[in-house]
Symmetry: C2
Subunit: 306 residues, 2 copies
Amino acid sequence: MENDLLRWFRETLPAHPRILLGPGDDAAILRLADEANLVATTDMLMDGVDFLLAEHEPERIGRKALAVNLSDLAAMAAQPVAALVSLALPQRGGVALAQRLYAGLTTLAAKHDCPIAGGDTNSWEGPLVISITALGEVPPERRWRRSGAQPGDALLVTGSLGGSILSRQFDFEPRVREALWLADHAMVHAAIDISDGLALDLWRLLEASGCGAIVEESSVPIASAAEELARRDGRPPLDHALCDGEDFELLLAVPPDEAERLLADQPLGVPLIRIGLCTDEGLWLRAPEGELSPLAPHGFQHRLDP
Amino acid sequence: MENDLLRWFRETLPAHPRILLGPGDDAAILRLADEANLVATTDMLMDGVDFLLAEHEPERIGRKALAVNLSDLAAMAAQPVAALVSLALPQRGGVALAQRLYAGLTTLAAKHDCPIAGGDTNSWEGPLVISITALGEVPPERRWRRSGAQPGDALLVTGSLGGSILSRQFDFEPRVREALWLADHAMVHAAIDISDGLALDLWRLLEASGCGAIVEESSVPIASAAEELARRDGRPPLDHALCDGEDFELLLAVPPDEAERLLADQPLGVPLIRIGLCTDEGLWLRAPEGELSPLAPHGFQHRLDP
């Protein structure tokens, strides 16, 4: 199998000027831009947890496995450099499955100029596991972190939130281009990608920054999928927008003047929405009438018995 | 769990000057040496395939998962920069298991100055999976590849071969320091780490280089574990040395003069042995009496039904 897939890799995966040595050697060798810092992130997706191989098309699964990693690069405003793909494939039909996974992920990789530099392809009796490491680069002076938010900053999000489980969990667009544009053209104090729900990821950003926030209930952009899900399960659409996972939109803390300009210009193609502001402490939701209530950092978290 | 482990990571994993931003953000940010090229490799280990969680201590499993990656960096003579660790943990006892895996791998990481820069920790109903990506750096002029062997080159190996399944598959020492010393002090035309057996990995090096080789039967360094295994299974010790996987020694193609010098000096601490020489084509085993027989590239390969 290794040889079949290696041959297929060599024939299929396009060469890229950043990859000095690619799939088929012991390791990949990559050229970064002069003085760039390296950004590295990894995510593992498992059948039965992050997708259902019996239900979801392998192309969408492969795409998602790369997309979640690209979203992490976007949260640091990093230019993708390359990705490494490790697979634990079921014995039966593994080669065909690998090819369909790759079909999905290489399409997304090409769109974001993120060549596949290598990986490790295995088979076993267990369920499908995909582990991808994405590598990116940032100029040393670029400092998008979770930790830079300041009281008074406006909180902005891209796109709309909630209900991703209905389909967007596979088809979301990692906000790589939007992040790179913002990093080049605007001042961003702190950033995170919303992977586990707005409330939880906002809480993480605030924890890292040592400040608080008020979220304006009426400003949270509710995705139509969140409305649809609310009709099905009877929970308020706002709950879904605040607490559903896998939106993979950007959450940004931006100085107020900069926020005004960006909100007026809407330079990204995707909507940029102000959902609230950073304060000294606490995490609050403000109702349209002005009443404040605590916003609990609920969202998606893997559970594990200690 | 994420929070438990993140807290534990922050408290346990030492800071490192190369890691500008480490575990706990969306991605790690790493500083490479000026002008260095990035080397990236990834390996996934699975319960029931690469180890047996019911039999092997988690510390040894964690160590191995990092060691196989460091061995790939050694094959490129790359200085380790950092590693990323992804885990799919069984639900029950997952946190304790993660801590024992980390205990094994961080000890090895410290020895090779390879800090853990991040990862992804998950739990599921399936068996344990560990996927590690190791990042390294090489000066742009350093060109250890599989592909540079030339007819006339001496073939050298470090250490001794075969029988690793008895214990060394977990306890082998990745030849990082040896590779870095050789890269700084000697001319090496081609290199590979022997992960799937000497015969198969030599064949890979020859394929990449477009040449052949003769292996001297009497020169192959047979590990005592290969002798032990031979006593148990009745196969010749040489077979084990040629075809067993997981030795993780270095195989090098070196110009003959350079080889003479290295063999006389033995500068590595671990023995450096000449096992044969590169020729124009074919892969041959030479008996002590001089007779040549074809050496089949048999070794360990994952099997997968297409």
